[in-house]
């Protein structure tokens, strides 16, 4: 059976694909920023040692890490309106990506903070700094530096997770692809093209994060 593939019909929709790509990048970068903020705040809360808030943070981490991203995004998009919280597709997508990535970031960053020698804290206290200033000024940067490779792979995973946001019709690359599929019936060509684009995209994200890492954490430790 000769297979009749027509990639041109997909590629000539490049303006839409470009829009999808740029929106995917926006979703990914916003999601990463939110995840990083949640990650740092979560660790700071755990470090403060208040039992109730520590328990809440741990519960959040366990729930997010043990349920699928798809169910999380469905929950935010379809269930929260019944509690009076109504968000647009793309805001939902960023929130879901940030919460999901944030839970993983908490685990990763905590490992980094644990790796910072205790003497750093003690030196901070000896200088008369408060715990939260020590965390912010002294501990955070070497902690992030120690776990930056894990954080990078988690953020690449977050970028790939943006594809799932198509399930709530957020505007991004996969949903653009699905629209092209609906109009051309070229399912394989569409998804093959998208796969190639995602592969390039994840390589770019990895390269970008490496550059950021080099610039931020390039200093001698000893």
């Amino acid at each position: 059976m000769p297979v009749n593939l027509d990639f041109w019909i997909v590629l000539q929709r490049w303006p839409e694909l470009m829009l999808g790509i740029s929106n995917t990048i926006i979703l990914a970068l916003s999601g990463m920023t939110l995840a990083l903020v949640i990650g740092i705040l979560g660790v700071a809360i755990q470090r403060a040692g208040e039992p109730i808030s520590t328990f809440l943070v741990s519960g959040f981490v366990e729930i997010i890490r043990n349920t699928p991203f798809l169910v999380q995004i469905f929950f935010i998009f379809f269930a929260l309106p019944f509690l009076g919280i109504r968000l647009s597709q793309n805001v939902t997508a960023i929130l879901a990506l940030g919460l999901n990535g944030g839970a993983y970031a908490i685990e990763i960053i905590r490992a980094g903070v644990d790796a910072v020698p205790k003497g750093q804290w003690e030196a901070g206290f000896a200088l008369g700094l408060r715990a939260r200033d020590i965390f912010r000024i002294i501990v955070l940067k070497p902690a992030l530096r120690a776990i930056y490779p894990s954080l990078t792979s988690q953020f690449v995973l977050l970028t790939l997770n943006t594809a799932i946001c198509t399930s709530i019709s957020a505007l991004e690359l996969t949903s653009v692809g699905q629209r092209i599929e609906d109009e051309t019936f070229r399912s394989f060509e569409v998804y093959f093209t998208l796969t190639a684009i995602y592969l390039v995209l994840s390589l770019c994200v990895m390269a970008l994060l490496n550059v950021i890492g080099k610039r931020m954490f390039h200093y001698p430790t000893k």
Binding site: P68, V71, F74, I164, T166, S167, L199
Partner: protein
């Protein structure tokens, strides 16, 4: 939500577990081959395995499902949806498990295989009798961790139209119009399967680190 609706969800759960089992059991032999290829000294074999892993780790699982789902008929394989999705998860698992096990094989000190070489053992015996038994122990926590990832990953089959737990939840939510309740129950069901597995993985990891101290 009454008993009938709950049974409906459990029926979806059955498919989630079946899909996970297909992907995991299928991924084990192929992942093993990938790990051996990745640690081989033959440059072509090594590069091919590396490309395979990079391909699956650099693209969304959802795209992998779509490409396999629509690609199989193009190469003349008209298979049932569950099998198509199962093949996709198997390929996905083979790449991830292959990479995890590559790491564990490389984590076994090099002196071990050098000692085997000095004793005149061949590749087969070195791997079977010396390296792999040690690598197996090292690989368990990450392998269990991937199992959790795979259970959650099967939810994406819902987007391809396969009826498993997430899709069942979506259908039920549309039917009885109680998304808050339905998605809470669906999430709780996933949590009930994933959490014990996560805890097991964490326990194995702790045993491993204390054992090595």
């Amino acid at each position: 939500m009454g008993m009938n609706e709950f049974v409906f969800l459990l029926n979806g759960l059955k498919w989630t577990i079946l899909l996970t089992a297909i992907g995991f059991v299928g991924g084990i032999p192929f992942g093993f081959l990938i790990a051996l290829a990745r640690t081989s000294t033959h440059p072509l074999v090594m590069t091919a395995a590396r490309a395979w892993v990079g391909l699956f780790q650099g693209t969304p699982l959802l795209m992998q499902l779509f490409v396999v789902f629509f690609g199989l008929p193009l190469i003349g394989l008209e298979v049932a949806p569950w099998l198509a999705v199962g093949i996709a998860f198997t390929a996905h698992a083979s790449a991830y498990l292959g990479d995890i096990w590559r790491g564990s094989i490389q984590a076994v000190p090099k002196g071990q295989s050098e000692a085997c070489h000095a004793l005149g053992l061949g590749y087969g015996s070195t791997m079977r009798d010396v390296v792999l038994p040690q690598a197996l122990k090292l690989s368990l926590p990450a392998t269990i961790g991937f199992l959790v990832q795979l259970i959650k990953g099967t939810s994406l089959a819902a987007i391809v139209g396969f009826v498993e737990l997430s899709r069942t939840g979506q259908m039920l939510s549309n039917l009885i119009y109680k998304p808050l309740l339905v998605f809470s129950v669906v999430g709780a069901l996933y949590f009930l399967i994933c959490w014990p597995v996560s805890l097991l993985g964490r326990r194995l990891e702790r045993q491993l680190t204390t054992g090595r101290r």
